[in-house]
Amino acid sequence: MNRPILPLLVVTVGVLLLVDLVVVNPTISDIAAVAVEAVILVGAGAAIAVTASLAWRRAVDLWSRRGDPIGAALVLVGIGAMLVAGLRPGATGASDPWVAWLVGALLVPIAATLFGLLFVTTVVAARRSVASRRRDAFVLMSAALVMLVLLLPIGGQTGGALATAAGWVLAGPVAAVFRGILLGVAILAAVAAARTLLGVGAGDE
């Protein structure tokens, strides 16, 4: 019998939170609160670890002059600037005006510009996928073309008809497929959780 610790822990905490949700009991509530706080701390720790790992990898790239040294330097300067702005003596952390300026004047506009370029790259990639002669890409792009036409911002009766058709597509076929996927994922998760609780592994089949 295979009893993986991590999935068992996840399922145990999940069941604990579920019981806490449906049963009013101070003791269970206190235990659940500890579990929730632990999850939050682990999440915060993981976020810091990922950022530190990124900084370390870029520092190594820069030191050994491999990969993209300019990009590595920019990443390190960005992390350093944000840390200095938020942690310098007298700063108020993430809400500090220096941090707000870095975010509002640099981070958000730069990111918006990069995402703005997605229009060109997405259209080019879609065109290539149609030309690749793959049947699934052809079907996907056909659906995309139909939706683009239905969502055109046109006024009057034509625009109304297009909007009505778009609403029907959303409420009918798209909603049906999407709900089917959600239900399938939920059933799969429930089966996986039950198998974990019962200690059923691949070797038992």
Partner: protein
């Protein structure tokens, strides 16, 4: 590929940007209507109308950078609308990306001299879904936070909130808030503003009543923006919200490029089938 053709292909994105810029400058016309059926906007406004005087509204601010441009004018109008209704806002983010955008919007509100006593910034809370559970139990309020709003939240917890407005865009969007927070705080109305990509997963929550209002498409957002009356807070809203013509131009360019490839592929397929039939 000839040099001239390669040069033309390289210049096409620049031409496209110039076309968009020119389309932006053309005056609006009734023939192009970004605001469609006002039902969603009316439902959103009606849910706000039902709130008590000077409501306390918890704002979950977690859009993503990729789709924020789509909902930004609507989000700014909604924040101004809430403040115009004397609402007091408690802002919290569950993602670093959402926190960055929240910080930018809060700084913008401060520049427009929004009353700081009406806004409480809880900042970023890590832990994803667990953060929402913790928020329902006992929200972590910054120690430096003071005033009636902070004191009220310390005393009453999240139970003192009159409504929840979720600005969505990433995985921790309105759906997560409805699933994790709504069962824990009772019958508080939840409203959401989200990009159209989230519409399929959010529409059932509107039908089921878990979301009292949803602005989930650019058309819904435009209809809501056209219906609001903000009074002295009007400057908070974007003066130059996206007109319909550049959006139409961009969509037509996409349709032309994809349509040309689609027709070429369809022509090839039909030709192949025809040859096979003759043979």
């Amino acid at each position: 590929m000839s040099d001239r053709r390669a040069l033309v292909l390289r210049l096409l994105p620049l031409v496209f940007v110039l076309v968009l810029a020119a389309a932006w400058l053309v005056p609006a016309t009734d023939a192009l209507d970004l605001a469609g059926d006002p039902a969603a906007a009316d439902g959103f406004a009606a849910a706000l109308d039902d709130l008590p005087d000077a409501p306390v509204v918890l704002v979950g601010f977690d859009p993503d950078l990729g789709t924020y441009a789509e909902i930004r004018p609507t989000v700014r109008t909604a924040l101004a609308d809430l403040l115009a209704r004397n609402a007091r806002l408690i802002v919290v983010s569950l993602t670093p990306e959402g926190r960055a955008l929240a910080l930018a919007e809060l700084a913008r509100l401060a520049r427009y001299e929004a009353n700081p006593t009406r806004i409480l910034d809880l900042g970023y809370v890590s832990g994803a879904e667990a953060a929402l559970v913790a928020l329902a139990r006992a929200p972590v309020i910054p120690s430096a936070a003071s005033g009636e709003l902070a004191d009220g939240l310390r005393d009453e917890g999240i139970g003192g909130v009159d409504a929840v407005v979720v600005i969505g865009g990433n995985d921790l969007g309105p759906r997560t808030w409805v699933e994790q927070l709504q069962p824990r705080i009772g019958r508080v109305p939840f409203l959401a503003i989200a990009p159209a990509t989230l519409l399929p997963e959010l529409q059932p929550y509107v039908g089921g009543g878990q979301l009292a209002g949803l602005l989930g498409t650019p058309r819904d957002g435009a209809a809501y923006r056209a219906s609001t009356s903000l009074g002295t807070l009007a400057p908070i809203v974007e003066a130059d919200a996206p007109p319909a013509l550049p959006i139409l131009a961009g969509m037509l360019v996409a349709i032309a490029i994809l349509g040309q490839a689609w027709l070429a592929r369809a022509g090839t397929t039909v030709g192949t089938l025809g040859r096979e039939g003759r043979e």
